[in-house]
């Protein structure tokens, strides 16, 4: 987990980071709808194509080999690869690296989601299983993020966080 942040070298500096004015505010999850205005349609066309392509390729591999082996590719990082590259191009490498750090938490929750689906799909209706698993992913991701911030695995640097007016 050491890749989540650059750890302060001693306890006092760690406390300084945790206690830095406004640090909790910087790490607090927020929703800013005004960022939608910056959305570039071309980026979403690329993401749509990547998502669609990975879905089809995973199904084809499952058809040619086994459904289990094809299933691996439903978690292929093509979308992450596209996102990180687009963020790197538009905002810089540091925001891209920070996006990947958050992605690790989402991926941990994704593992749990796949396990929940495996365990529930034959026991309850398919729609209930998938909706429940999405709920598990969302709640677990949020809890992991809050935990990671609380124990110091994640700290948002002010230089890494851009406001819409910066761009």
């Amino acid at each position: 987990m050491s890749t989540f942040s650059t750890p302060p070298s001693d306890l006092s500096s760690r406390e300084q980071v945790r206690g830095a004015p406004g640090q909790h505010d910087a790490d607090r999850p927020r929703v800013d709808m005004s960022r939608l205005r910056q959305a570039k349609p071309k980026d979403y066309v690329i993401r749509f194509a990547f998502g669609g392509l990975v879905s089809v390729v995973a199904a084809l591999i499952g058809h040619w080999t086994t459904p289990e082996f094809g299933g691996i590719f439903t978690a292929f990082p093509a979308i992450l690869l596209a996102s990180l590259t687009l963020i790197g191009k538009r905002e810089g490498d540091e925001p891209s690296a920070e996006d990947a750090e958050g992605g690790a938490l989402g991926a941990i929750a994704l593992t749990a989601t796949a396990a929940v689906i495996t365990l529930t799909l034959t026991r309850v209706a398919g729609a209930v299983s998938l909706a429940g698993a999405l709920g598990v992913w969302l709640i677990l991701s949020l809890l992991l993020y809050l935990l990671a911030v609380k124990v110091g695995w994640l700290h948002t640097s002010r230089r890494g966080e851009r406001s819409p007016s910066d761009e």
Binding site: V31, D32, T66, F69, A114
Partner: protein, 117 residues
């Protein structure tokens, strides 16, 4: 019929990826937004189509494989973070695919022995 199923997978997968990308775009800080880059968009879209076009047994098998792929995705993120800082976004995130492949296939082999068929 099979062509329709693949077309449905393409549109469902692409649409869900865009939905989560839009959620990620409005979220801040960047590390929090990053969570949505690893959302189960392709997994859920694929399983929904498999349930409609095939059966739940095939969907369960696909989900079992997805566990291995998701563990590989954790490795991908852990490797890509320092790799991006060292080699830039495109090269760093591209190189990390090697980590995903190794861990996902390794985990698949382990799970294949552990999960009873």
């Amino acid at each position: 019929m099979q062509l329709v199923s693949y077309a449905a997978r393409f549109f469902a997968g692409g649409a869900l990826v865009c939905v989560f990308a839009l959620i990620s775009a409005v979220c801040t800080p960047k590390r929090f937004a990053g969570i949505f880059s690893a959302a189960p968009s392709v997994l859920v879209a694929s399983l929904a189509i498999t349930l409609v076009a095939q059966n739940s047994a095939k969907a369960v098998s696909t989900a079992e494989g997805a566990i291995a792929g998701a563990v590989g995705l954790i490795a991908y993120c852990l490797v890509s973070t320092p790799a991006i800082r060292r080699f830039k976004s495109l090269a760093g995130s591209g190189l990390a695919v090697i980590a995903w492949s190794a861990v996902a296939v390794g985990m698949f082999i382990v799970l294949d022995k552990v999960i009873p068929r």
